[in-house]
Amino acid sequence: MFDGLSPAETQALLLSLRVSFWATLTSLPLGLLAAHALARWRFPGHGLLNLIVHLPLILPPVVTGYLLLLSFGRQGWAGAALWDWFGFTFAFRWTGAALAAAVMAFPLLVRAIRLALEAVDPRLEEAAATLGASRGMVYLTVTLPLILPGLLAGAVLAFAKAMGEFGATITFVANIPGETQTLPTAIYSFLQVPGGDAGALRLVLVSVAIATLALALSEWLSRRIAARIAGR
């Protein structure tokens, strides 16, 4: 698959995979929490939380990237604190690219999980409670398995979005080959020069190939889950 890719392009590809993988993985727990809060709890900040979750969709990606920069840059309120206390920074690091991708993908993840959560029959959770399962255990043994297809769908959406994320990423962590140059930035770069189309096309095809794999995997998984639940 790496045939015909320059070393820099291979690097961008591997980085995109890494960024998307971690963006998806680390946002899952938070996404679950947010989806749960939105689907099940009623609290004063409900509308606000919902807005915040959706914000990265609503705002142009550049603005989101800019806001990330303001918050998680070295000088940003959160970024400075992270640096002072933990010596950790997202700024101009691949972790920052992952953060940007995660933030941009978050609304998709949360919506998918939320829809799945709302479809869970609460009577099954009640049944688990009468069998001695505490709230947490009910969640772990009933709710979570039942929303697995939704979780998977959300994760696939998030991964796909992370693979394609460009605007927020480049605004937040710029384009540093080997550190923050993902496939979309490499593609963008090609498109900026006359005659770069062929190079861009090559990378686009690589993206598409990866997406095809990821989608096929997730389809297969969710079909298996559905078949098991239907008792086939």
Binding site: T130, G132, R135, P145, R228, I229, G231
Partner: protein, 361 residues
């Protein structure tokens, strides 16, 4: 173990107001569709938060506990199996939560006939199979209180007959209080220690099963034609031709009573329900009859209903028997309180599932 339930709860168009004491044994909640039975049971399980609730199990308040700490085995009216788990996973769920081996797993699987289904998922079960798994799952949760909402309604007679003795065992040997909803009077008569009758959210009668089932006033509420009396008898012997001889303590006398072989060892005490409609009265001791049991008795009360029937309460020297006769016969025989009669009870009319295990009175 006594369960006390005091509830009030309002739903649009429905008000529940219940003050119910369930003494040790099995308490049957009886009432028409929509009368509030499931609502009561849900409140006991903690799945419904009623407007006001006081639920005490042996004086220990349950009402403030979350459902999972009430240690309740609940067989739901709808099976509510976990679709993502196999039958085995459903049955073992409670044990896995408590990180134990499910106690008596094999026994319950055998009892409920689930062995061939263990690796299936609920989606591939028939209606009755699903309900059996639900029963097994609740029983395997090591409960200290069992709630059953029409658990046997979807089951065939043969399966019911296999499961009923097991529920009796739970009631008697494990001494678990059981709150049981059923529309089947034979089931109720066989199992219930106590009966509570609920109508439109209110208790209209509550008391020991033996009393309620032989109370001619209550009989219509329970379903006309199903009145009957509960007798206590001792097993005297199992005889050669498949019959068991029981002895009814009737004052100073011990009246013999032959039934198709019953479970239990000689000396043990049984309770049995004799439906009022299965008793025939005769003024003289009849001869040449196929009925083996002819019990001398005395009419103690006579209730003429509004219909063509009459319910006759008989005194057997301490125990009561009910007989349903036509008003025409009552007049023809000139039945009146105090009158001696003979009660004819067919051995085979005492349905097998009306004979229960020994019960602590």
């Amino acid at each position: 173990m006594t369960l006390e339930i005091r509830l009030s709860h309002s739903l649009p168009g429905f008000r529940l107001e219940v003050d119910l004491t369930a003494p040790p044994g099995l308490t049957c909640l009886f009432g028409r569709s929509g009368s509030g039975k499931t609502t009561v049971i849900n409140a006991v399980a903690g799945l419904l938060r009623p407007d006001r609730a006081e639920i005490l199990l042996d004086n220990e308040p349950l009402h403030h506990l979350p459902p999972h700490r009430r240690r309740i085995g609940y067989v739901f009216q709808d099976a509510r199996l976990f679709p993502h788990l196999t039958v085995r996973g459903n049955l073992g769920y409670a044990a896995r939560i408590r990180r134990r081996r499910p106690p008596g797993f094999d026994r319950i699987v055998a009892l409920l006939g689930l062995a061939a289904l263990l690796d299936r998922r609920p989606g591939a079960l028939s209606g009755g199979e699903r309900q059996r798994v639900a029963i097994g799952r609740a029983l395997l949760s090591e409960p200290r209180l069992i709630l059953m909402d029409e658990p046997l309604a979807a089951l065939d007679e043969a399966r019911k007959a296999e499961i009923l003795p097991y529920i009796e065992t739970l009631r008697d040997e494990l001494a678990l209080p059981i709150l049981y909803v059923s529309h089947s009077l034979p089931e109720v008569a066989r199992l219930a220690t106590t009966i509570a009758v609920i109508e439109a959210g209110h208790l209209v009668a509550q008391g020991p099963a033996a009393d309620l089932l032989s109370d001619p006033q209550i009989a219509p509420v329970l379903g006309l034609g199903d009145a009957g009396a509960i007798l206590t008898a001792r097993i005297a012997a199992h005889e050669g031709d498949g019959l068991s001889r029981l002895e009814l303590a009737a004052g100073p006398l011990r009246l013999p009573l032959w039934l198709p072989r019953v479970l239990g060892a000689p000396g043990q005490t049984l309770r049995l329900r004799i439906a009022a409609q299965d008793v025939i009265l005769s003024l003289s001791r009849p001869e040449g009859l196929s009925a083996l049991n002819i019990l001398p008795a005395r009419v103690s009360a006579l209730h003429l209903g509004s219909g063509p029937g009459a319910l006759v309460r008989l005194d057997l020297g301490g125990q009561h028997l009910l007989a349903r006769v036509t008003r025409r016969s009552a007049e023809a025989l000139a039945l009146a309180p105090g009158q001696p009669v003979f009660a004819i009870v067919k051995s085979v009319a005492v349905a097998r599932d009306s004979v229960g295990h020994a019960v602590t009175p």
